[in-house]
């Protein structure tokens, strides 16, 4: 058991070194990134949730970018809404993660300054067992050695086969606005 475990850990580490290129020094990571989504309709209770434990990883050599949010980490103001979100809509026990994998187009670390510049991100967002292409502009700036990334994009529940029951349909917006804020440290 013990030696099995050591072997397993060693293999895992080896895989991770190759998969995420941990050797590269130019990796910028945020382990406590901020992600918010909002699907509020006027006159109804706000439908929004914030996750402050999102992971984001940028390879500054290649512009490759990945982000992962554990969906139970989304916190709503209303705890009943949070329960419904997890149990009925997103089914977090079966699909515990939201993962984005993509590239910052024409990213060049040396071009970054204190002033925000806009960069196109193109990639795939996987959620609820479905994948969708997401292409959006984010702002990037260099602050105290870290790369600050801010931006947002829009998705719909049907993109990810998430069914909204008809009784609450008019209380939840058709389009979900996702905003992000990452402080990627070397």
């Amino acid at each position: 058991m013990k030696s099995n475990k050591i072997l397993f850990t060693a293999t895992l580490m080896l895989i991770s070194v190759y998969a995420f290129n941990l050797n590269a020094q130019n990796k910028y990571v945020d382990k406590a990134g901020y992600l918010k989504f909002e699907a509020s309709e006027k006159l109804f209770e706000p439908v929004e949730a914030i996750n402050k434990s999102v992971t984001a990883v940028l390879n500054a050599d290649t512009g490759q970018f990945a982000s992962l949010a554990l969906v139970v980490g989304f916190r709503f103001k209303n705890s009943l809404m949070e329960e419904h979100f997890n149990e009925n809509y997103i089914e977090s026990e079966t699909y515990p993660k939201a993962i984005f994998n993509g590239t910052l187009i024409d990213f060049d670390l040396s071009n970054l300054t204190n002033n925000p510049t806009e960069v196109m991100v193109d990639g795939k967002l996987e959620l609820h067992g479905k994948e969708k292409e997401v292409k959006t502009l984010v702002s990037l700036q260099k602050l105290n050695g870290a790369i600050v990334m801010k931006g947002g994009f829009t998705v719909t529940p049907s993109d990810f086969d998430i069914e909204i029951p008809s009784i609450v349909k008019n209380k939840i917006a058709k389009e979900v606005i996702v905003s992000l804020n990452f402080n990627l440290k070397p």
Partner: protein, 130 residues
């Protein structure tokens, strides 16, 4: 007779309000006050998730867990145990914690992060420093 009717009506209204409050404005869970369901070392917890995410997710996700190990990284409202468990606190850390401290924390398991190869716990409180 009239009083009884008014009394009953008032009672019905009141209990309706109480139920409404309880169901629709229910408070968030207070993880610290809930009983611990599993006590497990940082090493083992991460091993179970890395070994089989599906089974570990069913068993541990959203559960109140106590875990322990050496602190390997400290942030504003987050720390890492044994490079294997990323722990988030609701507010900034009050007590001084430095790398190398041995620590037990209680929190809610949110799942496995394969980018960092860590298990994440949120709404944590430190329960003891050894």
């Amino acid at each position: 007779m009239k009083f009884i009717v008014i009394g009953i009506a008032a009672l019905v209204l009141l209990s309706g309000l109480v139920i409404y409050e309880k169901v629709f404005n229910a408070k968030h869970r207070e993880i610290f006050e809930e009983p611990t369901e599993f006590t497990i070392s940082a090493d083992d917890l991460q091993f179970y998730f890395a070994d089989n995410q599906e089974i570990a997710t069913k068993k541990y996700m959203d559960k109140v867990i106590e875990t322990f190990g050496s602190v390997t990284e400290v942030g504003d409202n987050t720390l890492v145990l044994e490079d294997k468990i990323q722990v988030y606190f609701l507010s900034d850390l009050k007590q001084e914690i430095t790398v190398g401290d041995k620590l037990s924390i209680k929190g809610r398991c949110v799942g496995f992060d394969e980018l960092l190869i860590t298990v994440k716990m949120d709404q944590a409180t430190t329960i003891k420093t050894n």
